[in-house]
Symmetry: D2
Subunit: 221 residues, 4 copies
């Protein structure tokens, strides 16, 4: 198999936002650009951290690449581990402005569309394999209501309507980098190397596991 015949994996990360000079979601995506994982080749794509404007960029990549697997990454400052998201909700509600100054309140991501979509990634198997590899991970039941959830929802809406069989997608939140946490006392972090290794593992799981594990990973509340 060569890169030309390999399946295509689209891995997106965001540009920095909220006064940060770096965004680990893009650093991880960039580090894996071109990687061959379980018969697929990773194409990294940077998205603007802007409501609305992120989607045409993603759409163009979806049209050109026709990827089999799409994973969007986003920073979750304060989380301790790699968290595959379970559900995207049709709701924009911004606590801070995005990079273009937008701050929508209680707006749908897509009008007249379903309230939510579930990730089609094998999130339980991803978490199990990450933990077995010594990398902290857990399933998250909320991706928030900012640009991360916005992209996650819009992606799943497109996949639900237009994707061919076997195309899967979802969103993974990742922790801050140590250099970010060093500026925010008390904030948890994860080294870039660990994050890259973790997302590589997650992609491998998504490329190889068809039926997700039946392991509980829920929250009481």
């Amino acid at each position: 198999m060569t890169a030309a015949t390999a399946k295509r994996i689209l891995l997106t990360g965001f540009e920095p936002f909220d006064k940060d000079s770096v965004n680990p979601s893009w650093e991880v995506a960039r580090a894996l650009d071109g990687a061959l994982i379980a018969g697929g080749v990773v194409h990294a794509l940077q998205l603007p951290c802007v409501f609305g404007a992120a989607m045409p960029v993603l759409d163009e990549a979806l049209a050109q690449l026709q990827p089999t697997l799409i994973i969007s990454l986003g920073l979750a400052g304060g989380r301790t581990d790699i968290t595959p998201e379970r559900v995207a909700i049709n709701m924009d509600d911004a606590r801070i402005a995005d990079n273009a100054g937008n701050q929508p309140v209680d707006q749908p991501v897509v009008r007249e569309a379903p309230a939510a979509y579930f990730s089609t990634l094998p999130i339980k198997a991803m978490v199990r394999n990450l933990r077995d590899a010594g990398i902290p991970a857990s399933v998250s039941n909320t991706a928030g209501t900012f640009v991360c959830n916005h992209v996650f929802y819009a992606l799943m809406h497109r996949l639900a309507r237009r994707a061919g069989p076997g195309v899967r997608g979802g969103f993974i939140h990742i922790p801050a980098l140590p250099q970010q946490a060093a500026q925010h006392p008390g904030m948890a972090s994860m080294a870039l190397e660990t994050q890259v290794q973790g997302i590589r593992s997650a992609i491998h799981t998504a490329m190889t596991v068809q039926e997700d594990l039946q392991e509980n990973a829920g929250q009481l509340h």
Copy 2:
């Protein structure tokens, strides 16, 4: 107006679970049973903390009472404040067994039904009024995947299909009681009196505010 002509408010709480001897959600509901709030009278109902079995109990009350407003309460041990929930998801994923020993993993609450429903309560106005009254509150974007979310989802599914115009419902998580936190060092709590006052305020808001506030209350992740 008399209780006979008043609008009916159904307020549910759960029986104790997970080794606790008390559940603040029922203590609060019981304390408000019969209260007249903004032209409505509260009917308290205890639900079993059991997947599936909780719903016939709720259904019977819905059929008999024909309430205008339905608020389900549940304990969120560890939360610091009163949290109106934004969204119910169609997912049962139990980290611990319920009171009948059920522990479903990744099962839909209702088969062939939407992925999620949004609360039809004015959750932003509720939070604003609670804070103005000096009671800690915030909007929550996840009700978890246990019996609380199960009841929340099933309630919203019924309301979406069968409710008449003007009927609204949703779910509010509340903190542990001090007596519970006293057994779990580090757990936050809220006095029963504060909780009762808070839920009374939330009901008042739900009975009087038609259009919710356009205030951001989102989370970045």
Copy 3:
């Protein structure tokens, strides 16, 4: 026994600081002013939240009252429970300015004095009795390095040098009030009534228990 023949208990609280309009430590002290507890009568005293200036106020009360028991209260915004402090350290290191604009860095509370003093209150028994009464409590191993620790250290220094036999003292941190937490989403709180009941219990324990419990209440780190 009358108030005139009763033992005297000095209970101090601080004036508000850091933009708050209320300080629960003073609200609790004020609420217990004049209370008869286990043969002692409570004298409430408000201290300025100012390095240095707090001590002459305390000294004058110590000289006039000749109390048997001295408990200083202070707010620990964010803590979930009532926390008798174990140790006062000889260190002022202010993260924010006090109410007079002072912000000492790494200065001793008292020059040429010991590095620390241990509380002479029965802190383990206090915690045990609070929990048994359904009030969240735990032993704390650090009172910080702000005005609370400053007063705690200076108090213990005076007691170590000048107090007669049987005089005991210490410091208890208490949580924010709900009305304060309502302005700081996520902050834990405790109702004033619970706090007053808790400090009443703590005073009762201090008046009646001579030998502290031999229960572990330590921290691994």
Copy 4:
């Protein structure tokens, strides 16, 4: 300069405890064994995680090496950053048993000795330099009451009584490793490489900075 003429730096770590199979404090010390840092050579020493028994091992190394700098490392599971400790207290109070089954309650580390000692390391400068290097760090005001504090206190007691001029020592708590946090959902962690880089930086600061920074790093409580 050769290793033979270099100043000697004693760096201790603990054996694993509490069911863990690895202890980052020893992994870090081992990784730096033999390193030449700012004119000093690191000698790594493993201590048993046992009250009392840890000290003869340390004493022998102190006598043989005659180190100029002594830094003891310990795991603080749950902390997010590298935390030089400010103060050691004369108190053993074990929440769990040590590796020999000892669980002392409210016992002095050293009888008839001072209540506490302050670290003689430049802890503010260490934290500043760590943050500037992009490594999360903060000053801690409590080392707990378990074997970590026990060793810290006993070390400072020896240095206060027997050390020659210019000999400095203290304790640094470090976070869990990712492989440990992978078994404890929600626990923060730090990669071994980051920890090793961080402790190397801290040693360099301790070898080169005589007067500590006058920067506030205190806690309100």
